[in-house]
Symmetry: C2
Subunit: 320 residues, 2 copies
């Protein structure tokens, strides 16, 4: 066992909703918290709530010109500004200026999302170098009965320099991806669940700031392997759809020769692969245009090192 | 028992999909049938497939400027054309010109829709004056096991002169409203169900054209009483959401003091009414902007008169 990873206190915390303007749990909660911030107060800090893409929220669409949650790249942030830039380029720079490395960077970012896929409460992270958020995910699991909505740890392993996601602009971050929920509407059960999770997350940060130590633990993590497009005809039109046996089966093992698509002529198309994989983001509405029918992951057991608050003397900095 | 209602043969049949461009069962099927029309061939006619709002389909949105399925009004159809008209006004006139009273009117219109509400297979009609489509609905019920997806007869009783719906431009029509399905994605189970229903509907028309008589029958019909908006704050923002006890309970009796909404402060709001009613279109994503949280209906038993093919001698015309 190595010594605990240490981070400095987490005092500047922001909760983004409406990064995609039609993912309504986050939109609704953040609008509520902007008017009623008392719920976001803890002993050691008060979190801020922010509508990340207010124009998209107003129009109840995912984005205006381009997906904001793919705009937080070094390329966009460092490019010279232009009047003809997509709205989301401008907004990405504003958000980075306020919460990211443009000023004194925020310590923790929550980014609240919904998916049409049956992914329960998915805790999405972009690096295992940073482990405060993995401890938070573990805390959320321990506090919230998985019978209400199962919890999953999800990793899109992207080098910091290639990261395009909004959560990336903070020192630490967690993206909550709750589903299934159609875009453009609010389900009370999903909203309640997201609200609980954010509150438990704030509690966790408060405990951490107050010096509570979190021991090492083992956990399962779903790590992205590849993305699978829909079958298409010669004109590029989708020619088959998610097989009814795969629909809603996010995180259920997929084995060689399991059906994955059905064509309109009634033909079943089968998965071919030696390795058991775990499909996720199955039939996510927003991913049709991204040419993603589902995302394959592998399930990996990993040991998360212990965590404690760093003192000025022994603080090692954020390894991220 | 009165004598059977008689109609002339149904030879010109069109199937509209993509009246709302992000309701994907109809979009997908109609695109397929345009390329592969043989499935729409019957002994006595061949149906045509038409994407009603192709630009909205291309962008995968409900509409471009305004809801096409509210544009088939006398006011829009008879107004002088203008370059500044909404796209859907122009499209409504084109469709009326081709399929409606603008030329030799089509005999039967299928209009294919999806809803995010848990409404199973809802057969939506706009008048009980016309009964061929009610016989079709009855035939669809008898052919397709209700265990797969329950079937409901739904009536929005609108005088012909006030009707704004696309299906209204035909002599006879049936709107298939299948759900739940999020907008912007295709579920294989819902698509398969819609395809079966359209095929049974074509079979029914073929039998009718060949002289088969359909006896009188009794059926339950859900008739629209009123539409209920979300509670709103002084700024007009929605302040409460569908109660989890009401979510997905379309067509389930709603009684006095049953909870219907939950506020973000955790307060339950109750239904007040002496009469048992049947909520429908609960939490339909597209109706937030229409200020409709759900639509209340009453359940009415009615006797549908017998139906037979009219001969030239005894043809009474379409009573609609």
């Amino acid at each position: 066992m190595g010594s605990p990873v240490q981070y400095s206190p987490v005092s500047r915390v922001v909760i983004f909703g409406g990064t995609h303007g039609n993912e309504m749990s986050g939109v609704t909660l953040v609008k509520h918290w902007i008017k009623n911030p008392s719920e976001l107060r803890r002993k050691t800090f008060t979190a801020e709530a922010c509508l990340a893409n207010p124009l998209a929220v107003e129009r109840c669409v995912r984005y205006i010109d381009t997906d904001l949650n793919r705009c937080l790249s070094e390329a966009v942030l460092s490019a010279p500004e232009s009047e003809s830039d997509p709205y989301e380029f401008k907004r990405a720079r504003e958000l980075n200026q306020k919460y990211g490395s443009g000023s004194s960077q925020f310590d923790f970012i929550f980014d609240l999302h919904n998916t049409t896929s049956n992914m329960g409460a998915t805790f999405l992270r972009c690096s295992n170098d940073e482990i405060l958020s993995e401890h938070m995910a573990n805390y959320l699991k321990s506090r919230s009965g998985s019978q209400i909505m199962p919890c999953y740890n999800f990793l899109i392993d992207v080098p910091k320099k290639d990261n395009v996601y909004l959560q990336n602009i903070g020192k630490h971050s967690l993206c909550l991806e709750l589903g299934p929920q159609p875009h453009g509407l609010t389900r009370a059960d999903v909203l309640t669940r997201m609200r609980e999770l954010v509150n438990y997350g704030l509690d966790f940060l408060d405990l951490f700031n107050q010096g509570k130590e979190f021991p090492s633990f083992d956990t399962d993590q779903y790590r992205v392997l590849s993305r699978v497009d829909y079958p298409r005809d010669s004109a590029g039109e989708i020619s088959a759809f998610i097989h009814s046996g795969l629909q809603d089966k996010d995180y259920v093992p997929l084995k060689n020769e399991d059906p994955i698509f059905t064509t309109l002529d009634g033909e079943d198309l089968l998965y071919e692969g030696d390795k058991v994989v775990y499909p996720t983001f199955i039939n996510e509405a927003a991913y049709y245009e991204k040419k993603v029918a589902f995302t394959l992951t592998e399930k990996v057991r990993w040991k998360v090192p212990a965590l404690k608050l760093g003192t000025l003397a022994d603080y090692q900095g954020c390894p991220n």
